[in-house]
Amino acid sequence: MSDFNKSSLSEIVNLIKSKKVSSLEVTNHFIKNVERSKKLNSFITTCFEESVKNAKQFDSKKNFDGLLSGVPLAVKDLFCTKNVKTTAGSKILENFTPTYESTVTRNLWSEGAILLGKLNCDEFAMGSSNETSYFGNTINPVGKDLVPGGSSGGSASALAANLTPATIGTDTGGSIRQPASFTGTVGLKPTYGLCSRWGIVAFASSLDQAGPMTKNVEDCALLLEAMSGHDEKDSTSINKKNEKYSKNLNEKIKGLKIGIPKEYRVENMPKEIDSLWKKGIDILKNSGAKIVDVSLPHTKYALPTYYIVAPAEASSNLARYDGVKYGYRSKKGKNLIEMYENTRGEGFGDEVKRRILIGTYVLSSGYYDAYYLKAQKVRRLIKNDFDKCFKNVDAILTPSTPSSAFKIGEKTNDPISMYLNDIFTVPVNLAGIPAISIPAGQDEKGYPLGLQLITKALDEQKVLNIAFAMEKSIDFKQSLNRWWE
């Protein structure tokens, strides 16, 4: 059997399409990897019997045209999968088995991909370290005591450890890009509305967006192409023709103008991150891009804005977990109201409770204008900053995160220090624009660090092309000794 651990998603697709290997061989390889890697705790659910059945069925087909022909993929456990348990990392959905399929995952299966299992994540995607999952911490394959980032931490961990050839996550404030940065992988948050939100467990509906997480930029283009597209079931889905991101991928970035925002040079930023940023700037210069200093003056207000808007939307979205229609129900309580209160008190974890309470508070009578309305106004200012900036530049380059992966337990006692992880990623969600994190180097401990490229809305091809050009020059290499097996 070939060693698919070194193969990219695109390479595996080509091997299957040219019948050099079967879908079953590939599927069995990744199943074996998953079975050996329980220490990472990156999976919540596996569905190997189904995967093998689907792989065999795929191999007997005549048509191998799909973009993801016969490739097994594990996905974040926030995407509803028909007849496969979907927990969102929460006790309250521990036994929830959807009777329908999310649009994004359905798109993957219709391109020939096969579900391998469901990946661990922070509870309801609320977290930056995967430590809020009801199903326990996921471990970063980079180091035994390291978090993989979050909320798509299981996705990043499984990808970096080769338990899936690629994966998908969701990004509300950095939940794809930050774990990608922490694990030496590529993660893209698309323009808001490019991928359907239908069938994804909702966190903050005006910010949530699904996106690809892959080993390289070429795979990222391919997976984005497969998962995106208009969906009438999502009223905020953008109605436009699907683009051929993978076919149109090229590294010609000569003459493009790249902005460097001075506000991202935050206090106490490790020197390594600053020098990584400089390295990125040099690479772009050498590729013929023009570097321009830009200003996004409201950057420091993005996190406070996010921590009003996101909890407000979450408090409303999570009102549906009432112990009646689906999910966990407490046995305690004398009447309906007490049943609700006990169900939610027992079913939600501490971080989810914190956010529901904050959200309820900022939306409550007497506080709405001071908090929620104020945040919506500042959100406008943040979006205006980007709009203005993109009149002069094609893209913006920043670090992805203010640090490399941190230790398990290091930030759990202080919500604000945890929130600060998303300082470079959150502004993009508030503005609804696309951004990619690519691995760009290692710090002195050998932990990966990422750089982030941002463009205006619907400029995914451009952001992918710039990332593609940078990837070639950076030539990032990560060899993990599979200590967890």
Partner: protein, 95 residues
Amino acid sequence: MSIDKNQVKKVAKLSRISLDDTKLESLSKDLASILNFVEQLNELDTKKTEPLTSIVDKTLEPRADKINDGKIKNEILKNSPDKNEDFFIVPKVIE
């Protein structure tokens, strides 16, 4: 603005979340520090700024008023923790 234990209790009531009394102290502290953090926004003058309510620059698309779903009662009831053939069952509401 600070938030005390009684306010936390009130918000928990509004949120329909039962809280362990022993956790009230630390939770109030956490919420106060989050509120203190987000209040940085008060540094900004937004009198003339319109709130941003939707990031998608489009009007909602109308669709034909036609039924395209239905007859899925069993599927809808399937995940309920307590149900009979036709209904969700909840604790008694009317005495």
